[in-house]
Amino acid sequence: MSDRGPTALLLTFARRGEEEEIRRALASLAGEFAGLRSMAVGTPASAPVLRDLGVEQVVIYGEGRGARETMREAKAHGPEIAAVIYCGPGTKGHLKLEALAVSIPTRHIYRFVPGAPARSIGRPALSISVAGKALLVAGSLAVGATVCAVAFCWLRMAQLVGGGWRARRP
């Protein structure tokens, strides 16, 4: 009988202060799946942090490697579990990580929220969350673009009325 267990793909931004939650996720999954192997997608900056926390394999994103190439490599490892690790209270934001979890064909998806027990979530439910958040992104972009367009026009107008932008030499 093989002692090789399933592979868990940890989806986290691995920012400062998130180490405890990553450790908790690893411990929780290892308790549930015997012989668990772990992997994560990380940037060159977060990779050493992830390795120090015990993640066995880190697929590097960035430094000339695009999202598509990174995804292909992550899928090639055949993870059976995706674990989305949230860094705040609740599951706000984190659309990038949730979209990754939906797009990689794993058998189980777990959500780890600080201060709450790990929760398994079905792919359809997570897909609905992703779709809702994608709409929010579109709304946020519209708000951002409108605010910045108004600001640009107002500021340039004030500047032109005020007499040009070039520095006056002493």
Binding site: H94, S140, M157, Q159, W165, A167
Partner: protein, 314 residues
């Protein structure tokens, strides 16, 4: 002959912090030749003024109604009677010999000199305000605080002197108009002041021989929630670019980044609330535009020159 200076400790409900900061300031003032020490009180309600009158009657108390950090600093500097001013937060404990190097650095083309900020245990981990510079990342301007001790050994130019411990000539402060109330209630007013000083052809220096111990953020954290602090800081970061980037190409670049910024709330999460920050900044747009016009009338250096001098030309 050394300049006459007033050490002004800015206080808001920091009575217990004053118990450490005032004796240290008094010792430093004596060490530097009987300089004056004052506390500018921003309408404290915790007995700070009573404490000073009882325990340190030699300290001048400038009592103002509660109008915020920037306003209180401006009022205190205007009321002070010396050529040089040292502004200190109430959570800053100065070392005895911190003052002479700061006063020595106030050359004719220098606006301000900043101290070396260390944590209470003497470490530099996460210490803010040392050899400040700015960096462009994804079209946004970010402030860099040096924490490598090997790079904090020489007197050198920096973007701005941290308002928690800065020395300057009063006359120049008044010429710049002091801290801009655009940044109320707090954060970024000192960055703005430093940038404007560079824009007027002056320099801002970092002085590593002037060591002060800083309990970072204690004064603000006592009074505000973390969410509010992050929101105000993000709002003021936006307002800083709107007011100060006079080069239209740079402004366009910053605004493009800010337009996408809002989506990061959902895409990433766990960040300062950027959509709310943009909307809060929008409410102050007319005020930022007025500040922008004031700046362009006074500037002698273009943004490119200011940013290059601070090591951040994109």
């Amino acid at each position: 002959m050394a300049l006459a200076a007033t050490l002004i400790i800015v206080n808001y409900n920091g009575r217990e912090l004053l118990e450490r900061s005032v004796p240290a300031a008094l010792a430093a003032a004596r060490h530097a030749g009987e300089q004056a020490v004052a506390v500018a009180d921003d309408g404290s309600t915790d007995g700070s003024i009573r404490y000073l009158a009882t325990v340190h009657p030699e300290v001048e108390v400038m009592a103002f109604p509660h109008r915020g950090f920037g306003h209180t600093c401006n009022a205190a500097v205007a009321a002070a009677g010396t050529e040089a001013i040292v502004l200190l937060n109430s959570d800053v404990v100065v070392s005895q010999d911190f003052l002479p190097p700061l006063l020595d650095d106030l050359a004719p083309d220098v606006f301000a000199v900043g101290c070396k900020f260390v944590n209470r245990d003497g470490s530099l981990t996460d210490a803010l305000g040392n050899r400040t510079s700015c960096q462009w990342r994804r079209g946004m301007l970010y402030i860099h605080h040096e924490t490598d001790p090997n790079l904090l050994t020489e007197t050198c130019p920096q973007l701005y002197a941290n308002g928690a411990g800065m020395t300057f000539l009063r006359e120049r402060w008044l010429a710049l108009g002091g801290f801009d109330r655009l940044y109320r209630p707090f954060y970024w007013e000192d960055v703005d002041l430093g940038y404007r000083a560079w824009g007027r052809g002056w320099r801002v220096l970092y002085e590593p021989k002037s060591v002060v111990f800083h309990e970072q953020g204690r004064t603000i954290q006592r009074a505000r929630t973390r969410e509010r602090i992050e929101l105000m800081s993000a709002k003021n970061a936006v307002l800083f670019t709107w007011k100060n980037l006079l080069d239209p190409a740079l402004l366009r670049r910053a605004l493009s980044a800010q337009a996408k910024w809002a989506a990061d709330d959902v895409l990433i999460g766990g960040l300062p609330p950027r959509t709310r920050a943009l909307l809060a900044a929008l409410r102050q747009l007319p005020e930022a535009a007025r500040g922008r016009v004031r700046e362009q009338r006074a500037r002698v250096r273009a943004d490119a020159e200011v940013l290059a001098a601070c090591g951040a030309w994109p």
